[in-house]
């Protein structure tokens, strides 16, 4: 990210290079530029040459925490760059005993929010953009010899638009200056809109969304709470659901996928971003977050690893969503 003429990538590279070259970490998980200018992909850096490719820009949406699970099998100590959501994902994985925290060096990157290419396309008004420039909360989209400037908030990823915690928590080192607190007054507005519909209209909505599901499980692969060694969808004994992409099976998969995240989902939105057919998966996750918060007190997964997830505990005077007469 080179906003206001500061090369943040270089700054980050400087800090992590020291740790990597001194052997404090065996591997650094970061980002590098992908095939297109609007893509940044994971970087697995082992030496100075790898580090040269490190990039921190407005397209580093990929959550790197998940890669720790596998990388720690082969490396003693791994450094990882974490945005706000990624840091909570790390906490989630630590809480689930998937990542031994003492073998991770977490470098926090306060995050201004990542950009959505689809929104940029829209902002470019039909022209194919070939790059952007950012300054003071504005994004200038260049393309076809024309420059169009839009407010940054308008071209953010959906997951970033409703982000409450852009500053990483529980990191070993914060590499950049914290960004300002964020409000997300519309975090649950899509959920509320759906709630206001009739049962039948809601069913029709989801039926339409879920019939597109290819059962590719990209949502699961991207998710930091999906940490099972064998997912229930693939088990043979018992066979929870068949492999066919069939409406009731798709409902079953998505309802249980969301339910398995009840009280655990950090709302990072990686599932929805990973979905190749654009199913609004985060709506299901947020529905659970909203209800559990309403019923059992405010809880944000991944924020405080010492706090017990709400479905693993109880109070004798808890309310219920059914009649207790």
């Amino acid at each position: 990210m080179a906003e206001n003429n500061v090369d943040y990538s270089a700054k980050i590279r400087g800090v992590v290079a020291q740790d990597l070259l001194s052997g404090r970490i065996d591997l650094l998980l970061g980002w590098e530029k992908g095939h297109y200018w609007w893509q940044s992909r994971p970087l697995f850096a082992r030496d100075q040459a790898d580090l040269e490719r490190l990039a921190w820009d407005s397209f580093c949406a990929v959550n790197l925490s998940r890669y720790l699970v596998d990388e720690l099998k082969e490396n003693k100590k791994v450094g990882v760059l974490l945005k706000g959501c990624d840091a909570r994902a790390l906490n989630r994985l630590v809480q689930d005993n998937m990542v031994p925290r003492e073998r991770v060096i977490a470098y926090g990157l306060p995050c201004p929010g990542m950009l959505n290419y689809a929104a940029l396309l829209e902002a470019a008004a039909g022209r194919k953009p070939d790059g952007i420039a950012e300054e003071n909360g504005q994004v200038t989209v260049r393309g076809g010899g024309v420059e169009l400037t839009v407010p940054r908030d308008r071209v953010l990823l959906d997951k970033c638009r409703h982000c409450l915690y852009p500053n990483p928590v529980h990191c070993d080192q914060l590499l950049l200056t914290p960004v300002g607190e964020r409000q997300a007054p519309e975090r649950f507005s899509a959920v509320q809109e759906r709630e206001s519909l009739s049962s039948d209209a809601r069913f029709a909505y989801w039926e339409k969304q879920l019939e597109r599901c290819l059962r590719c499980y990209a949502c699961r692969q991207a998710c930091p709470y999906c940490s099972c060694r064998e997912c229930f969808v693939e088990q043979e004994q018992p066979r929870w659901l068949s492999k066919a992409s069939q409406p009731s099976e798709n409902f079953m998969f998505h309802l249980i996928r969301a339910y398995h995240g009840a009280g655990r989902c950090i709302d990072c939105g990686e599932c929805q971003r990973a979905c190749p057919v654009g199913i609004p998966l985060q709506e299901l996750n947020r529905k659970l977050i909203k209800d559990i918060n309403e019923l059992y007190g405010h809880y944000e997964a991944g924020l405080d690893p010492g706090q017990e997830p709400p479905l693993l505990t109880y109070r004798p005077d808890d309310p219920a969503a059914f009649s207790e007469k």
């Binding site: 099998k73 082969e74 689930d96 005993n97 998937m98 940490s227 099972c228 060694r229 064998e230 997912c231 229930f232 088990q235 004994q237 018992p238 929870w240 398995h260 017990e308 997830p309 479905l311 693993l312 505990t313």
Partner: protein
């Protein structure tokens, strides 16, 4: 596919009257795996059971399904029959065709269809049944009694007399409990000390009983037969092996403080025994009040002690010991009525609780056995007893009856009349409850022979009025307002659970009701058992209770404990959770929801690309697991499963019922 046999019981006409047995049997023949079907008038009879046993042998059955009454009724009967025929007893499934079908439906077509569905589900589950073996558990042949009141003493004596060693943990410096504070007991008016003290001495001298006074249970781990308990023996600052109980130390001690035993109505020294008959007769130094512990000087007791038993440097000791059974008898408290402002308790010295008033009758009590007003030392003429203070009080969320108050109030009114013949007693009551042998007669005697005036109604307010108290109430029988000028007011404050009962329950691992009284396993049929196997309850920690009930319950709890200790081995739960370690990711959510601490983490080694890696997975201690299955739901990958109710089995039942 295993060879399944299906057996349908007519239960006389109980099932056959509503369910078409022939259709059911015909249909069952087509269930997957079924190779044999039969029906009989009474399957639970010996002939019926033989029918099953013979079919198992002749037809080489591997799974048995019975369509009978509720499994809660005869599951164990048929398990035994199956076992006698050489099959594992858990290769049996019961379809409830009576309680859940023939008895609740009248239409024969409907009931038959439902019977078929239930039977099909049972058969689908049976096909997936696996042989299970209940773990056999060792029994540590020693009991722990928590609480040294009359219930605890009785339980300890009974267990010891049966030949097993018992440790009694009492948090106060002496055993004796609430009963030691009483002057007389109803309905016989014998002196409490006269019947309690011999029991206390007997317990102290019994070769099988080990008293751990001034001690508290800090941790209970383990399970029935093998409870591992940590007990903190608080430092008395006295070497009990040297102390002769001469009492010189507390005579010489310069510091006075309120006596807990006397309900704060009298003073004791900083080094003290709580009451003269204390067992053991070994003093304790109260470190919060002792001059030496507070300011580092004094040591008079140490200087004066003839056998040199004072030992200031003594430290708390932690005793770790294993017990086979535990009896909890931690007793009760009397409600502090200070929040009940209408009775002026705490605002006027002559408004007392009944336990405080009890001490006035005792020769060693705060007034030397004289019943006098604390305000002016004069004997009272009018005494008003107010019943149900904090009991049967819906408005304050205290719905229950404290059970003993009607009787102890009658007792105190009688004792008062004997001490102060000119005194008059008035009792404001909601109902007089005197169920118990000789109780009604006793209460009638108070009213008829001792002239105690019983007024049915509630007291609205007690006003301090000069040196007297005005009690305003309503007589609900006549509807008239009553005003009495009283010299003393005695509040029958509710019997409540100990202030820390909920916390104690958590440490021990038993649950309590909304008032924090410990819960029995069944209100009628398991009154001294708890939901935790091997832990029993006795006395007023379970609910308000008088002495005879507490003693009876203590003996009952003792028998249960002895019955357990007498066993060579215990049979554990067979349907326990089991972890598939290859699928387990080690998140340990199962551990978090397990109510028994039966799940823990273990490290396993795995090979990954030629290298050895270690990771943690969950492991179930089958001896601790009670088979609730909560863990199976916390496990997203289904890597922990409940034997006897596996995920595959429940899914098969669902599928079969919906077919």
């Amino acid at each position: 596919m295993p060879r399944v046999g299906v057996f349908i019981c007519w239960c006389g006409t109980n099932i056959a009257g509503t369910v078409d047995i022939e259709t059911v049997v015909e249909t069952a023949r087509n269930f997957p795996g079924v190779v044999h079907t039969a029906d009989y008038r009474y399957l639970c009879s010996e002939i019926g059971q033989d029918l099953i046993k013979e079919a198992i042998k002749n037809e080489k059955l591997e799974q048995v399904v019975v369509g009978t009454c509720s499994p809660r009724m005869h599951e164990s009967t048929f398990r035994k029959a199956v076992a006698e025929a050489g099959l594992n007893p858990f290769l049996l499934e019961v379809a409830n065709l009576r309680e859940h079908c023939s008895w609740v439906h009248q239409d024969k077509t409907e009931a038959t269809a439902k019977a078929i569905a239930l039977l099909r589900a049972a058969a689908a589950k049976a096909v997936l049944n696996a042989p299970l073996i209940a773990p056999r558990l060792d029994v540590e042949k020693r009991a722990l009694v928590i609480g040294g009141g009359i219930a605890g003493i009785q339980a300890a004596l009974d267990i010891a007399e049966a030949g097993y060693p018992v440790d009694v943990v009492e948090r106060e410096p002496s055993i004796g409990g609430r009963m030691a504070q009483l002057e007389k007991t109803f309905p016989t008016l014998d002196c409490a000390a006269c019947i309690l003290t011999p029991k206390m001495v007997e317990a102290a001298q019994h070769p099988q009983i080990n008293l751990l006074t001034y001690s508290e249970v800090e941790e209970v781990k383990g399970f029935v037969g093998q409870f591992d308990v940590k007990i903190r023996q608080k430092a008395r600052a006295i070497d009990a092996t040297k102390c002769t109980g001469c009492g010189v130390c507390y005579e010489k001690c310069p510091t006075k403080t309120e006596s807990e035993f006397e309900m704060g109505l009298a003073k004791r020294k900083a080094i003290y025994v709580p009451f003269p008959q204390a067992v053991p007769n070994v003093p304790v130094i109260d470190r919060d009040n002792c001059l030496y512990f507070r300011k580092g000087r004094c040591r008079i007791c140490e200087k004066e002690c003839p056998p040199q038993a004072v030992y200031f440097e003594q430290q708390d000791q932690i005793l770790e010991r294993r017990y086979g059974a535990i009896v909890v008898a931690t007793g009760f408290d009397q409600l502090n009525p200070v929040e009940y402002g209408e009775y002026a308790y705490g605002q006027h010295p002559d408004v007392l609780t009944s336990l405080e008033f009890e001490r006035f009758f005792n020769a060693a009590g705060p007034t030397g056995g004289k019943v006098v007003r604390l305000s002016d030392g004069k004997p009272p003429r009018n005494v008003v007893f107010i019943q149900c203070v904090g009991s049967r009080d819906k408005a304050r969320g205290m719905n229950y009856c404290s059970k003993i108050c009607c009787m102890f109030t009658a007792k105190q009114a009688i004792l008062l009349k004997e001490k102060v013949p000119e005194a008059r007693s008035y009792v404001f009551y909601i109902d007089v409850r005197t169920a118990g042998k000789g109780y009604e007669e006793f209460q009638r005697r108070a009213a008829e022979q001792y002239g105690v005036a019983y007024l049915r109604g509630q007291v609205g307010k007690v006003f301090p009025d000069g040196d007297r108290l005005t009690v305003k109430g309503v007589d609900s029988l006549s509807g008239k307002t009553i005003e009495i000028q009283a010299d003393m007011v005695v509040l029958a404050a509710a019997s409540v659970a100990r202030g820390d009962a909920a916390q104690v329950g958590r440490v021990i691992g038993i649950n309590s009701d909304q008032y924090h009284f410990f819960n029995e396993a069944h209100p009628k049929l398991k009154p001294v058992e708890t939901h935790t196997a091997g832990i029993f309850i006795a006395g007023a920690c379970q609910a308000p209770k008088d002495i005879p009930d507490s003693v009876a319950q203590a003996s009952a709890a003792a028998v249960k404990a002895v019955g357990l200790l007498a066993k060579e081995k215990l049979q554990g739960e067979a349907c326990t959770a089991r972890v598939d370690q290859s699928g387990c990711s080690g998140c340990l959510y199962c551990e978090a929801v397990c109510p028994y601490g039966a799940i823990s983490a273990v490290q396993i080694e795995e090979h990954f690309r030629g290298e050895k890696l270690t990771r943690i997975v969950a492991e179930v201690n089958a001896a601790l697991c009670q088979g609730c299955g909560s863990c199976t739901v916390a496990c997203r990958s289904g890597s922990i499963n409940l034997q006897g109710y596996t995920n595959a089995q429940i899914l098969a039942e669902v599928d079969a019922i919906c077919l």
